[in-house]
Symmetry: none
Subunit: 454 residues, 2 copies
């Protein structure tokens, strides 16, 4: 049963909540059979490298939910029959097994994944594939997908590349890993990262032996003058994570100038650019300066993270080293799912899905903003024009980490703004995702959240 | 239809192969119409005065080639649309674009990929997936696939592991990369590789900053006494590449003893263990010493390299670091193709495909050996009991590299034995793959090859 739990990343915040979620899912899906006796909290804590308190709390939570049974003398066992899922209600029922905690940023609505369109695309790929398509592929990706991605990125993101310039990856994480390997091999280990910024990205870059330096973010985006002697910088120009700020035109020019002057590399993470609502599209930086920008993107937000579809467009001078790193990493990805993604792009199915998803997400954003205005009228809301999350600035003095922890205990998934800072100061706040819940669920979640405020 | 087959001369050797050839030709020329139901193997055997086993083997070969379709309950029928007829016969025409050069080792017959079974497995995976299956997965792989792989490896390879111990990879290359990263991080950079051995593997390990040392291979496999102060060793115990030697029992014990005594890691590449013909299965080393062996395998030979399905079973003490390396590399693989592979394994479809492919490959090996005996009667052939390639030892003084180069100019794909040596001495030879061509094509290729000999 432990495999369900070993996926927990002990080093990311919220491990207790993730432990509860993983246990809940394992029980709900009967991956641990009803009646199974669980290891003692002491043993499980040792196995997982967690404190025993976290395991005790997780067991208690699931006992309270009726999924586990605890009897003095006979330990903790999985409840005989899984409890019925609450049909519905006015107030938020505990999320069904495997559901995303409401307000958790960074995940799309997995229920929106276009299964029928994807099935058709995969079938067409499988039917149309030549035998030779099933051989080892070009490590940079199958040519048809690279051509479709080049066309898509040119059309939708104003990127400047051809099929040859695209490296297909399994997601942004792999793209960053490839760049990290090449940066480390070139001795370009001083890398700036936005502050506040994604904690996951920081962890990921650190794994490649890079030294990270915070780059402050203000209302015009990353402060380029702070780059100093850094050799590369990770930025989110179209929609800064988490603040939602757009990198201002002057800053964009400054950033490109910095890179050209110093030989630095700009890593542009275009993580949710497909979702914008009330503003003109902001073309990617790569389209303006393909010589110094590595464009990173994925379909994790637009389709699903579990599909592992991503791409990387490095500067032409970096391409041979990146191709080599991709070959060293995995000799290229699965041919059939690459061909299926090419089908989805080429047939217009991806665009159709995005239009539908964008409309749904705009409705959710509107519902979240309306609920915040009702229940937290004093809060300053920002970063709403695009993306799948927004930021609620809290009155100074509020401990946002404690609030986020209370929210997690209540089954919600917001991040504290201060958890995403590394060094920099700023007001407390919460980062709220709205992609994975219906408007009603979001409204109920905000009502719960408001009740937790001091 | 039988008149096409009644011309077979039962009394000349090779009747099985001629039966296959006659059936293939009858189908290709539509002398037996698409959709026609063939007589049962029992009836046809009686009609032709052959053993039933020969007819069963012929049917299976043509099913594997996609020319016949076999369905439980409805017998064997001619496939709906026959595959295109090869342009010519007597001399090998240049391979069509994307075809594998005849005699190239290391590639399976991509035309044998079980498209229908894979489509069904993928559809079931897509239909059965929970929304939460589409979220970021456990980086070590989806639990269901890990459980199926653990069961499969235990059953077929006598491996000792549970689902928890398996890390799903995109192929052997990624598995070696993960181990390479961990070895380098631990300062265990002195790694032995078999000599002769795979040049691709050597390149791959070098990319991770390891220092490689040749380990001679004799008729009992890798010479363990040569390991000295190395900290890890890459071996192919079940079927050494390229020589085909099986690591002798005494050497296996010696190798495990070396690892336990020195803390060294044994990397066991089980690259083509599913294919054995005239010998008992050789269980993997990992099953004997899971504490010091990392088992590496893939479905690249059994299904197709382009599917990128592989696995790694590291020693338990290495598991956390390997999991972490996998997370850093790509945060886990595509959920749907993992679930599809689990379906294929769990439904028995993988076993069925392997049985079929094994029989077809045995026929091809027999054809290659027979052609070599005819056209190169002086050559010593070895490594024929298993795998998808064999070695032809050439008279000393023959320049095998020059011969391989001439063969490549003639459209063939053999490797020179000396290209696979790094340091060690030995007779010249050629490594010939037989997996990707029909018996007739192999016979023609050997005739061409013989004409190139000095």
């Amino acid at each position: 049963m432990l495999e369900a739990l070993l996926a927990l990343d002990r080093d990311r915040p919220g491990v207790g909540e993730r432990l509860i979620g993983a246990l809940r899912e394992a029980v709900a899906q009967q991956r641990i059979a009803p009646g199974t006796r669980l290891p003692s909290s002491r043993d499980l804590a040792a196995d997982l490298g967690l404190s025993r308190g976290l395991v005790v709390a997780a067991y208690e939570q699931l006992v309270a939910e009726g999924r586990l049974v605890s009897r003095r003398g006979s330990g903790t066992t999985v409840a005989p029959a899984p409890p019925p899922v609450p049909a519905s209600a006015g107030q938020p029922s505990p999320p069904p097994a495997g559901r995303v905690a409401p307000l958790r940023p960074g995940v799309p609505d997995l229920g929106m994944f276009p299964r029928a369109a994807w099935r058709r695309a995969y079938e067409r790929a499988l039917t149309g594939a030549l035998d030779s398509d099933l051989d080892y592929t070009d490590p940079a990706g199958v040519p048809r997908l690279r051509a479709e991605l080049a066309a898509y990125l040119g059309r939708v993101r104003a990127a400047r590349t051809g099929a040859d310039g695209v490296v297909v990856t399994t997601g942004a994480a792999q793209a960053l890993g490839l760049l990290g390997r090449v940066l480390a091999a070139r001795g370009m280990t001083d890398v700036g990262v936005e502050d506040p910024g994604s904690a996951g990205i920081r962890d990921h870059l650190l794994a490649y032996g890079l030294t990270l330096h915070p780059v402050p973010v203000d209302e015009r985006g990353a402060v380029v003058s702070a780059l100093g002697r850094m050799q590369a910088v990770f930025v989110t120009p179209a929609h800064q994570f988490p603040t939602g700020v757009v990198l201002a035109p002057g800053r964009r020019a400054e950033l490109i100038d910095w890179a050209r002057r110093t030989g630095g590399l700009i890593i542009e993470d275009d993580y949710d650019a497909e979702f914008r609502y009330d503003r003109d599209p902001v073309g990617c930086l790569q389209g303006v300066a393909p010589d110094v920008v590595a464009l990173v993107g994925s379909a994790s937000k637009a389709l699903a993270p579990g599909l592992r579809r991503g791409w990387l467009v490095p500067p032409p001078a970096w391409l041979p080293a990146v191709r080599r790193a991709k070959s060293d990493a995995d000799m290229g990805g699965s041919a059939l799912e690459q061909l299926a993604f090419a089908e989805l792009l080429g047939s217009g199915g991806y665009d159709r899905h995005l239009r539908r998803a964008r409309r749904a997400q705009r409705t959710r954003r509107d519902a979240l903003v309306a609920a915040l205005r009702t229940h937290l009228p004093q809060a300053r809301i920002s970063g709403v024009a695009a993306g799948l999350h927004l930021v609620v600035e809290l009155p100074s003095g509020v401990d946002d980490r404690a609030l986020a922890a209370r929210a997690r205990s209540a089954g919600l998934g917001p991040l504290a703004l201060s958890e995403l800072r590394h060094g920099g100061d700023g007001p407390p706040g919460l980062v709220l995702g709205y992609a994975a819940q219906t408007p009603d669920e979001l409204t109920a979640a905000v009502a719960t959240l408001a009740g937790l405020l001091p």
